[in-house]
């Protein structure tokens, strides 16, 4: 027997929560900040999302899913997978220029090694970073198979490198948002696989 239905859309509420966590970070995002942005009251939030930490984990995962899908789409947007990397880096640079918020995962890095009960968040952050790397790895593996990448290249090293570059762009995009710097990072980074 179904009771009273939820009066708010859980996905749009989650989107608002992501925004708040993005701007303020986990600690500084108070429940008043969250509930007012989500347009719901406190007990509704607890019913729907558990508590602040599980809400944050849900937000992290949703954010990351979108981010990873965007990355995959960009990487494979060109027939030439090397050109795809360039397209992806430039698009992500421009995205940072627009939002000025960096990356929710990179922003949350200070929650790692915190011995304050953030164990699950820590594991999740590590997993999400690894997913990014693995997506890049798969891309370079395929590029090599199809002859777009020299057999001398180490696709794992390339994946780790570009993953690092992406995190670096996120930090610059947040702290010192300079379109010149972000675009230069993207342009220089791809030189190692451009001829």
């Amino acid at each position: 027997m179904a009771g009273r239905p939820r009066e708010f859309d859980i996905d749009t509420a989650l989107d608002r929560a992501i925004e708040v966590f993005f701007k303020k970070g986990y600690e500084k995002a108070s429940l008043d900040d969250l509930t007012s942005a989500m347009n719901i009251k406190r007990p509704s939030l607890y019913k729907a999302f558990g508590n602040k930490e599980t809400l944050f984990r849900t937000a992290l995962e949703t954010y990351h899913d979108r981010d990873l899908n965007q990355l995959r789409t960009l990487l494979s947007s060109e027939a030439n997978p090397i050109k795809g990397v360039e397209v992806a880096l430039l698009a992500i640079a421009n995205n940072h220029i627009e939002t000025k918020l960096g990356c929710l995962i990179a922003n949350s890095g200070n929650m790692v090694h915190n011995d304050e009960g953030y164990d699950e968040i820590q594991e999740m952050l590590q997993k999400l970073i690894q997913n990014n790397e693995d997506t890049l790895y798969t891309h370079f593996e395929s590029a090599k198979e199809h002859g777009y990448l020299s057999q001398d290249e180490d696709e794992r090293a390339l994946a780790q490198y570009f993953n690092g570059v992406l995190q670096g762009m996120a930090v610059i995009g947040r702290i010192n948002n300079s379109s010149e710097a972000l675009l230069n990072i993207a342009h220089q980074a791809i030189r190692i696989i451009s001829d």
Copy 2:
């Protein structure tokens, strides 16, 4: 007229504060955490450092001074300035592998755009990142002058790129501390200026 002398060493106390801020971040570092690590009581901290925010700014500045000095030393540790960049990146990678803490500045990126009265910290973080870039710029400028770098290279773009790579290594060093990844980032990153 001098009163009762301070019973603790202000520099070692500041070092302990840096450690706490590094591990926990600004928000999560409580005054109890700080005072117990610094081995002083609350009023002594306020007398010596003002308040939590000014203590953090002092910690940030001290950390950054050391960091920048280390970078300059590493960059100029070889006769060949290009080799110096390689030495610096590898040393910093190994440092991340040891500490697993990332970079205090990159870790504090989520305090930017926070509209919660972090204006001075925000400005400081931007300035410190810019100092890093300028140090790299000066290095590449000198390298070009001395014929170690092609005239076609844009030393500002190179500085911004390596600055980004350094921030990326800090994020990876904190969240997903993998020596393989960190060393691969360093090795791949310098390829653009290695022959």
